[in-house]
């Protein structure tokens, strides 16, 4: 297990975006010149689809302005200059009743790595959650904050219980990756709640429901192949539970809440240490002198993080938040680490992919690699011509944005970019009347095509 370093140097200033989640932007609770403490709430929004924002350092608010955000767009942010003289509060464990857990989560500003505030996932308005899944299949989040695998496994299980409590769900599962033997061995044989845990593989039609029954337990640990992509929630839900999510819906519509290890840990800390979500583990890789996993304060600019990792090697050509396959390229290294930042990847100028795209040669390599049976080449052509309705009928909304199609294309077509273009246009067009009824019979991402 890779060791997580803690970033020691205090950054010159931290930039805390007032919106680090999908939903409404927070109103600043401070103004220029105010002194703030570490952990102090500095932004809040009354509406349910929002998560509070806290200061990650003690210091002085130097400005509240539109600043770069790792999502690519500029967002209203609080810029704080750390200073020694600000007094600090100690965090105290909180004893909260179950009914208050969701509010605690919102208040602690816990957000899933994919952007949705965690309380929205656990307690969606008007929906019931019966199963909570902790997704530990993505390498970046495993082991963050924990010193040993055993500590990690029991804490995650505790966190899962908390999540289930918060959601009012009866069942929960931790989903590991088949090739992450370290974690598997950490869970295997673990005694939890008087039961021995066995890590069970998800194969074929043997979904998690089978293991709940087979092991006569409400909490199971399962493992599956690594799937990746930005929009894997629906696919993940289907692969793990067999439930299909229809167009315009999300897993909560079929009673499934998906949390990351990271938010599970944050909830654990919020309850057991009273600590809001102010620091996160970021794995820094690529062309930096000392690639590592590093615990940083939210709001730390990328350049300070990279500095802490020894700085760039040579001239950097591309700075990517969240990984080389699905991440967002940044145009400046002044962007801050936000709650949804999991990694920073640096490419040198020569490594930047700039293949000029030529016409699609219908080689079908993209078709062969697509994990959700799409025909990316055709979707691309349709998207390029603005024929979004036909894209929709070809299940474009199923795309998990894994980028494999674009990676293998010999014509260097910007396949994924075009697909996302079409998806965003379709979403815009359907915003107003998305069919929000939930059903387990609907096909995964079935978008009215049939």
């Amino acid at each position: 297990m890779t060791k997580v370093n803690i970033m020691k140097n205090m950054p010159e200033k931290v930039i805390i975006p007032l919106k680090q989640h999908d939903g409404s932007i927070c109103e600043p609770l401070v103004k220029k010149g105010d002194m703030v403490c570490e952990g102090q709430k500095i932004g809040e929004c009354g509406s349910y689809d929002s998560a509070s924002v806290h200061s990650s350092v003690s210091g002085e608010v130097v400005s509240i302005e539109e600043a770069p955000h790792p999502s690519g767009n500029k967002v209203n942010s609080v810029v704080i200059q750390p200073s020694e003289d600000a007094e600090c509060v100690d965090f105290k464990p909180k004893d909260v009743p179950v009914s208050e857990l969701a509010n605690l989560i919102k208040d602690a500003g816990i957000v899933e790595h994919y952007g949705t505030p965690t309380h929205m996932v656990l307690k969606p308005e008007g929906k019931n959650i019966d199963t909570v899944l902790v997704n530990a299949t993505s390498s970046e989040w495993i082991g963050g904050h924990y010193d040993t695998p055993s500590q990690y496994s029991s804490q995650v299980l505790d966190a899962l219980k908390l999540l289930m409590k918060a959601a009012g769900a009866s069942r929960g599962a931790i989903v590991l990756r088949n090739d992450d033997l370290e974690s598997i061995s950490a869970f295997d044989g673990l005694n939890f709640d008087g039961k021995n845990i066995t890590v069970a593989p998800l194969v074929g039609k043997r979904k998690v429901k089978y293991y709940f029954k087979d092991m006569a337990s409400d909490i199971v640990v399962v493992s599956q192949d690594h799937i990746y992509g930005r929009k894997i929630l629906d696919l993940f839900t289907y692969n793990v539970t067999g439930r299909k999510v229809s167009f315009g819906c999300d897993p909560t519509d079929v009673g499934v809440a998906i949390c990351s290890v990271k938010s599970a840990k944050a909830l654990y800390d919020a309850v057991n240490a009273g600590k809001p979500y102010i620091e996160t583990v970021v794995s820094v890789s690529g062309k930096v002198k000392d690639p590592q996993k590093i615990l940083v304060r939210i709001g730390t600019p990328f350049k300070d993080v990279i500095e802490a990792c020894g700085g760039y090697i040579g001239e950097a050509g591309k700075l990517i938040a969240n990984g080389a396959i699905t991440g967002v390229a940044q145009y400046t290294d002044d962007v801050p680490v936000s709650k949804t930042t999991t990694s920073i990847f640096v490419q040198s100028v020569d490594e930047v992919v700039r293949g000029e795209s030529v016409a699609c040669i219908h080689c079908a390599r993209c078709v062969d690699v697509c994990p959700v049976n799409l025909v990316p080449s055709r979707l691309t052509a349709l998207a390029d011509q603005g024929r979004f309705d036909e894209c929709r009928q070809m299940h474009i909304m199923n795309c998990v944005e894994c980028g494999r199609c674009a990676a293998v294309c010999p014509s260097k077509i910007h396949v994924l970019q075009l697909i996302r273009y079409a998806k965003s246009s379709i979403e815009k067009a359907y915003e107003d009347f998305a069919p929000k009824q939930s059903s387990t019979n609907l096909k995964l991402g079935c978008c009215g095509g049939e």
Binding site: G72, A329, Y331, T332, V352, V353, G386, H414, Y421, S424
Partner: protein, 265 residues
């Protein structure tokens, strides 16, 4: 066989055939009657048939139906031009008068004069660039020059020029406005040929911010506003706007503008 018998037989045969067919067709037309408005079909006839949707309806036939049955405006089809409007008017018995033709006008002269914040690799499309980050150009209001409008135009009327700004070929443009709709930054607008003077900038940023990213952007200095003898110019939110009804195309503002961002055609 004599000519007479042949004649009679032939006439009887074909006449009988005609009779049978006539009766059959009339019967069928009664049996399978479908109500159609002949006016609609006439209007469809005169429409250009491009089915481009510029009228805002689902194709030419739909537009025709709306014009006839739901009083949609006669000049709803921008593609057909005045000829079509006149013909529709003729069919529906309405008087029409010709409006002056409008063409898309680009309110930005940035192009290569405006700095790029980064180096973009991806599909040639302004909306796509904006999806990735707020846009490639230093100015968030200006033209991206990635040609979303070019792709939107069904008549191939727009090309991107040397200076990375779109050029509209007025011979090909049918004033359908699809490009204007498509532009993510709303820098295109309709302008009549008779409107001679235009501000070539769309930036509402403060003067300093404009100067930092663009050599020729409007900085909102109000010199033009003060100098215009017709009081046709107002500067709102750091951007000059010309009231075309008042403008006499005297050209004074063009001369006075320190940034040279007012154009006279």
């Amino acid at each position: 066989m004599t000519l007479t018998t042949l004649l009679i037989q032939a006439m009887a045969t074909l006449g009988g055939l005609g009779l049978v067919i006539g009766i059959m067709l009339i019967a069928a037309s009664k049996l399978f009657k479908v109500e159609t408005n002949p006016l609609v079909e006439e209007v469809v006839e005169v429409l250009p048939g491009a089915n481009c949707g510029a009228c805002g309806f689902a194709g030419c036939a739909d537009f025709a139906e709306r014009v006839v049955n739901e009083n949609a405006p006669l000049d709803g089809c921008p593609v057909g031009g005045f000829e079509t409007v006149k013909e529709i008017g003729g069919i529906l018995g309405q008087e029409v008068s010709e409006a002056e033709k409008e063409y898309p006008y680009l309110r930005c002269n940035g192009g290569i004069h405006c700095v790029d914040r980064f180096d973009y690799v991806g599909i040639e499309d302004c909306t796509a660039v904006i999806m990735l980050s707020d846009g490639e150009k230093g100015c968030n209001y200006g033209c991206m020059g990635r040609g979303t409008c070019v792709r939107a135009c069904p008549f191939d009327a727009i090309t991107i020029g040397e200076d990375r700004l779109p050029i509209v070929n007025k011979n090909l443009c049918k004033s359908c406005g699809l490009c204007i709709e498509a532009c993510p930054n709303e820098v295109l607008m309709f302008a009549k040929d008779s409107e001679k003077v235009h501000v070539q900038c769309n930036s509402h940023d403060k003067g300093k911010a404009v100067k930092a990213v663009c050599e020729i952007g409007c900085i909102g200095c109000k010199i033009c506003e003060k100098n215009c003898p017709e009081e046709a110019i107002t500067v709102t939110k750091f951007l000059a706007e010309i009231d075309q009804d008042k403008c006499t195309a005297c050209g004074i503002c063009v001369e006075k503008c320190p940034q040279k961002c007012i154009e006279i055609k």
